[in-house]
């Protein structure tokens, strides 16, 4: 498709433009914070999209890896005296390692069985983070040392807006590169037919495993970002509800679409902020919006809107 190249570059261009231009209309640090939270969630969603959107493998425990990354930067500097940025890498390596170890048996499961397998795995991670209070501070959470680069403390919404924005663009670039490569085509192929993919010479198990590892690393780095940004973290970040939220971001935005993952993250992060004016109707409205969006745009927002535009153009 002529579009492949332009689609990849267009997506990147849109993202870069968004990150660069949004601050021009931000009246206060609060907006920077919300936007930074969007970029951070979007990073995890873009990673999960590699697993779910490309390869079609559901993970209902992905927040577990988010939690590993978050607690790596909480525990590493406080207990082991390591620099925060090293802990980001260690957390990512640990998440990738765990994903690699548990991925083989778990990814043998299919469909809803895969869902419950990953869900169980995520619950276990959250349980450990809640229970091992000596290390993690327990359910009340633990504070996280600020990120320091060359003795400069990095904190505050503006700094984190740019950091998370840059990391997201970088992560999206990697994901888009992957999409348009033999491995990416292999993942998208096995999504539709594992047997046909295998007979095309694709090592299905290995590709699924790498997608799982990549998605885990994305989630872990996003978790580290959030922990460093907030300076405080609780085990809820690794919990079932957060896993569901990440999945919902990918599906709402549109499975397989990098831009969709960002849009899904933006929607689910900003909605609770926007819905505060409805006070006690907030929850009901949130549920209603999710339902309506999925019923009317079942491909997800970005692919759905793209298709509508294409249809109205023709």
């Amino acid at each position: 498709m002529r579009g492949i190249f332009s689609k990849r570059r267009m997506t990147l261009l849109v993202l870069v433009a968004l990150v660069a231009v949004l601050p021009l209309v931000f009246p206060s640090g609060y907006y920077y914070r919300v936007a930074a939270l969007v970029w951070i969630s979007a990073l995890a969603a873009v990673g999960l999209n590699i697993l779910m959107g490309y390869a079609g493998q559901v993970s209902l425990g992905h927040a577990g890896f988010f939690g590993v990354g978050a607690y790596a930067v909480a525990i590493g500097p406080a207990r082991l005296g390591l620099a925060s940025w090293i802990c980001i890498l260690l957390g990512a390596a640990a998440s990738g390692g765990i994903a690699w170890l548990v991925g083989r048996p778990i990814l043998r499961l299919k469909g809803h069985y895969l869902a419950i397998g990953t869900l169980g795995f995520g619950v276990l991670i959250a349980l450990v983070l809640t229970s091992e209070a000596k290390w993690t501070g327990g359910p009340d959470g633990t504070s996280v040392a600020r990120l320091a680069v060359a003795n400069m403390r990095i904190s505050g919404p503006t700094a984190w807006y740019w950091i998370s924005g840059f990391v997201l663009v970088f992560g999206a670039w990697l994901a888009l590169n992957l999409e348009d490569s033999p491995a990416g085509r292999a993942l998208r192929a096995l999504h539709d037919s594992e047997i046909a993919a295998a007979l095309g010479g694709i090592d299905v198990a290995r590709h699924k495993l790498w997608a799982f590892v990549l998605a885990a690393v994305y989630a872990s780095i996003a978790g580290s970002e959030l922990a460093l940004f907030d300076g405080f973290i609780t085990p809820d970040t690794a919990g079932f509800l957060h896993s569901i939220e990440l999945v919902a971001m990918v599906v709402l935005g549109g499975m397989g679409s990098v831009l969709g993952s960002v849009v899904g993250a933006a929607l689910l992060t900003t909605l609770p902020q926007l819905l505060t004016v409805f006070v006690e109707y907030e929850q009901a409205l949130l549920g209603l919006i999710i339902m309506l969006a999925m019923i009317f745009l079942r491909l997800g927002i970005v692919p759905g809107v793209q298709r509508m535009l294409a249809r109205s153009a023709s």
Binding site: M1, R2, G3, L174, N177, L178, D180, S181, P182, A183, G184, R185, A186, R188, A189, H191, D192, S193, I195, A196, A197, A198, L199, G200, G201, I202, D203, V204, W210, G256
Partner: protein, 262 residues
């Protein structure tokens, strides 16, 4: 040395024997067909040959090498490709991308290079796309390359599967009912394709219900019935085999038998 051989292959599902001690051998460069009534075990045999099922007993030899129970992607690496009776199209991808997937083994697949998009990845993508377009031209789908795979008509999807299988540059191609659901014109086109594929040096094994088609193209024919080998030989031999006639007459009436003889 034969391109493909089965030795006493058998498989059972929950006590029901689907394939029962079947042996045969395919000479390189031949078109070898497997026929038989529904439930004779044709597709099961295909699934064993392509590594989807592991046979309960017996061996499969690919170019003389024992490949029994090898995973499908390893068989692909050894030069085996196949199409599917129940189409296995990658519907989320475009037509040309479907064929590009088939080039997987012919591509450099370094994950890090792909992620960071080394220049070689872009070059290779272009080369793969070019090759895929050639194959689409070969099966007559050149003008549909950029369409969504799902938008192709049924006959087009069958040809797309053939193009994808050829992208692997196989030595042996298994075609599972390539003409199923095709009208006579489309069937003729498929027949032409099969002949050209063999001419390019690829051995073809096919399962097909269209007897005229089978009789026209096959060098040798294997007849299965109830999971067992009923007969094997050239089209003429099979056509005259009294057991084959009996099987078709006995169970499926004179019409099928007549068709087999015509």
């Amino acid at each position: 040395m034969s391109a493909l051989a089965a030795e006493n292959v058998a498989i059972a599902f929950g006590g029901i024997v689907a394939v029962d001690g079947v042996s045969f051998s395919v000479e390189p460069g031949n078109i070898f067909s497997i026929i038989g009534p529904n439930g004779a075990g044709k597709t099961t045999l295909f699934n064993i040959m392509s590594g989807i099922y592991r046979p309960g007993s017996g061996r499969i030899l690919l170019a003389g090498e024992d490949v029994t129970g090898l995973e499908p992607h390893r068989l692909a690496a050894k030069g085996l490709a196949r199409t599917f009776q129940n189409l296995q199209i990658f519907f989320r991808m475009s037509v040309v991308e479907n064929v590009m997937v088939g080039r997987h083994l012919r591509e450099a697949r370094d994950l890090m290079k792909a992620l960071f998009r080394f220049p070689s990845v872009g070059h290779q993508n272009r080369a793969t796309r070019e090759k895929a377009r050639e194959l689409l031209a070969f099966v007559g789908l050149a003008d549909r390359a950029d369409d969504a795979a799902g938008s192709l008509p049924y006959g087009g999807l069958r040809r797309l599967e053939i193009a994808r299988a050829l992208a692997l540059e196989p030595r042996l191609l298994l075609l599972d009912e390539p003409a199923a659901g095709c009208n006579p014109v489309e069937t003729e086109a498929v027949e032409g394709l099969v002949r050209e594929i063999v001419r390019s040096g690829i051995t073809v094994v096919l399962v097909e219900h269209d007897m005229r088609f089978v009789m026209r193209v096959s060098d040798r024919i294997l007849v299965l019935d109830g999971g067992k080998k009923l007969a094997e030989g050239t089209a003429d031999e099979v056509r005259r085999n009294p057991q084959v006639i009996a099987a078709y007459l006995g169970r499926y009436g004179s019409k099928e038998a007549a068709r087999a003889r015509s």
